[in-house]
Homo-oligomer: 346 residues x 3
């Protein structure tokens, strides 16, 4: 039992393994085959000082599925903070109302500051350019689950990370979590100016992983097990880059043609979502919709069991999950999309 | 068990009868005499891309009374959709978080598009000028319940529909549902330019109903069983109409004087609400408040059992309701308003 | 069982005693040692027509801890009220959806108007300059609980009320509640122009209490048992006052130096919160953080059992609390802050 989850750096590989063991136990509940009441009477303060409907709903649903109640707050500030209330006062007041807090805030470090004075578990739901540990955990959980489904081992696996590797905080946190594992092979593909920060590359390399960098997807790759894509925002480009990458969509676009050229059928394609589907958005292509290699929806589905595991762990009920499960009375019909294959079978 | 409720056109008379049988079973719960836990562990995504506090709260309360948890979202867009996420991606992500979705959206057809890729039940909570099927169902349910209370038969009944019959979507959906029944007599009263669309009149007439149109309420009517009113928004009037209907409030105003002149004591007066009570608003008159013929609050009350029935039906627990009911521990006191007569007696 | 809680003037001392007896029974639940399901199946409409995150969350958490479900609404108006719906219609519609209503509204008297037509319990969550009875009750409850903890009697106690005593509605309601008790000694300290209204002083004095007024905190005081502070908003000052109180922060600032000079170790310092912690804000000083005399967080914590008691009382389940309690399965760790002393021990 740990008081807070603020950063992936707080987690040892043992802690991650424990969390994933709990998450796997949560699957029957996340898949609506079982229900539990293990957090009955508990109240979550789901505090979103910055809008993020998806993340807010994922935490909300996860806490609800454990039997707890959720109190949401959205909007740029607390009304009381607009009146000059300190984060210290706000957090201490909230600690008297609720039993756990998810906090998303635009300012890096604010979640840590918020959690300092209180002992009610606080989960960092994203603090600007800082951390978003539950996203990194569900990404890693997805890789682990997909490898198990495909009968593959993570040891020595080849991961391709592409897109905006400089400003994408999810890919940084994922790198840190991956670095805890036995040696992997990681290929980084980003346009100049958007590369992975050097100190992070050095850290991961120093832990025995083999890292290679490329400037384009239009090159030869060794067979790839995981393609992790993040959107390149053109606004981030300098004029010089705009000129050099006149054909950006071809050189950095992950689509069906790319996959058919470089990736065996067991490759999985991930994305932290949302994906920009507007024409010319230069994001992960919609022509992969329906392709079983597209794991992005299985990935977002995994947010539920992983966030349930985080709550159960921080609130000290992880050991009670299995004995608390009962059959569900209602039933959501099986899914339609082909990408749901792993979701509907238990 | 049907996957979605998008339009009243999806419903046969048999389906409507089945829904109303379930709704009647829900009455003791809706009236706070019994409770159930039949949807325990289920999570509703109550997604309102357009504000409608009343409808959102009605769905929220209905799902809660079945024992489920509700996650609300309000606001013009999802934050992720502002980043270019497609409705396809948003809906597929939501399907992994929640067990049923109510969606209100300003664009006609968007709810159907949202539901296409997923198998989690989606209920259309209103898509702009399109459909709002749960409103039409609660309107019809109200007519049926009131007739039963008054010991009258719906066969051959005379309904007067008045107000803005052109742009009022609720009155269109109600017409479609009414048309499934044995022959009725329907009188339509609207100012020129705001008449019921011709093709809808033709459809209903082709199903054997007797339809008559009038240009004013200041005329002779055969005794009327139901008066269904919708507000005429003066902004919709052309200059010519403004001149012609200089005395609009007298010619189209449903008030106590109108009722006393044309309607027997068993007539019921309905309105989809909200009703504009500001002076000169030309809406259903407040001088009927307290008159037992005014059924508008019994009508809105009926939203709860009808929406409970929709959820139970779509989620396949309709057959479990009766055995799941238990006595309530707390008790809301009996109502004060005379119009609540039917509400408090079980 | 009473229909509504609109004003502290509705409460006799007997009613207050009864509420506090229930609140004390709620403590094990508020402190997360026990849970109850006594309001299972009940739905609260938590209607905030004016933003107040703290108050909304406190009511939300309190109702949730009793086993009920909560439907929140925030924003300046109901979408339906923008369309001209009367408060009468809105309240009657809500009464058909939910089992209890908390209403916060910027207009004085609006909550009473809202509650007039309905029998569903309505709690005034603050109506502009009007009333906020649950705040006054939790303030009084805090004084009573702190005196009990310190082994002191309220009879003859000395309370110092300071800050903006003219516009602070919480301090007015607290005065009214205090006036129901056996004779107290109350010292009022406010700058000219912000004094307690004369008729309220007269009312309290007429009930046998000894009231004294001062113009500055920089004077001699008899030992004080309770210091209740409210923020002075400089915007409320006339130019003349600005000149006269050039050194406002010294003359009206409650801080550690003031306490050490005038208050024995058993004094408690209260504040309705939020407290403005910005430099120069002239509010209760942060240099008291961690001082056991600072009761402001115990005070806000008390909002939970007091609001639970209000709900249980209005909904007629106050006699069922004790038999309904069960052990909690999860556990929030003990608190960190020294001010939490009374919170963590049962």
């Amino acid at each position: 039992m740990s008081p807070h989850l603020l950063s992936v750096d707080d987690l040892s590989l043992d802690a991650v393994e424990h969390l994933f063991t709990i998450a796997r136990r949560m699957e029957p509940i996340a898949r609506r085959r079982k229900i539990t009441r293990v957090l009955e009477g508990a109240v979550l303060g789901n505090l979103f000082f910055e809008a993020s409907t998806r993340t807010r709903m994922s935490f909300h649903a996860a806490f609800s599925r454990l039997g707890g109640s959720v109190c949401d707050t959205t909007g740029f500030t607390f009304s009381s903070m607009a009146k000059g209330e300190s984060l210290y006062d706000t957090s201490r007041v909230m600690a008297g109302y609720v039993d756990a807090i998810v906090l998303r805030h635009p300012d890096q470090g604010s979640v840590a500051e918020f959690s300092r004075a209180i002992n009610v578990p606080v989960i960092n739901g994203g603090d600007g350019p800082g951390e978003h540990p539950s996203q990194a955990l569900l990404d890693l959980y997805t890789i682990r689950q997909e490898f198990e489904r495909l009968g593959k081992s993570l040891a020595g696996a080849h991961l391709l990370l592409t897109g905006d590797l400089r400003y994408g905080r999810t890919v940084h946190s994922l790198m840190r979590l991956l670095s805890l594992h036995p040696p992997l092979r990681i290929t980084l593909v980003a346009p100049p100016g958007l590369e992975m920060p050097g100190e992070l590359v050095d850290l991961v390399a120093s832990r025995g992983h083999r890292i290679e960098s490329r400037e384009s997807l239009e090159t030869h790759f060794e067979p790839v097990d995981v393609v992790y894509t993040t959107r390149i925002q053109k606004e981030r480009f300098t004029e010089e880059m705009q000129e050099r990458f006149h054909n950006l969509s071809d050189e950095f676009r992950v689509n069906r043609a790319f996959l058919d050229r470089h990736c065996p059928p067991e490759t999985i394609v991930m994305h932290p979502l949302p994906r920009d589907s507007r024409p010319g958005a230069n994001d992960l292509d919609v022509d992969l919709n329906g392709d079983p290699r597209l794991a992005i929806f299985r990935q977002t589905d995994n947010g539920i069991p992983v966030r349930m595991a985080i709550f159960a762990w921080l609130m000290g009920v992880d050991h009670l999950i299995e004995q608390s499960m009962r059959d569900v009375g209602w039933q959501v019909p099986e899914r339609l999309s082909p990408d749901d294959a792993s979701f509907v079978t238990l």
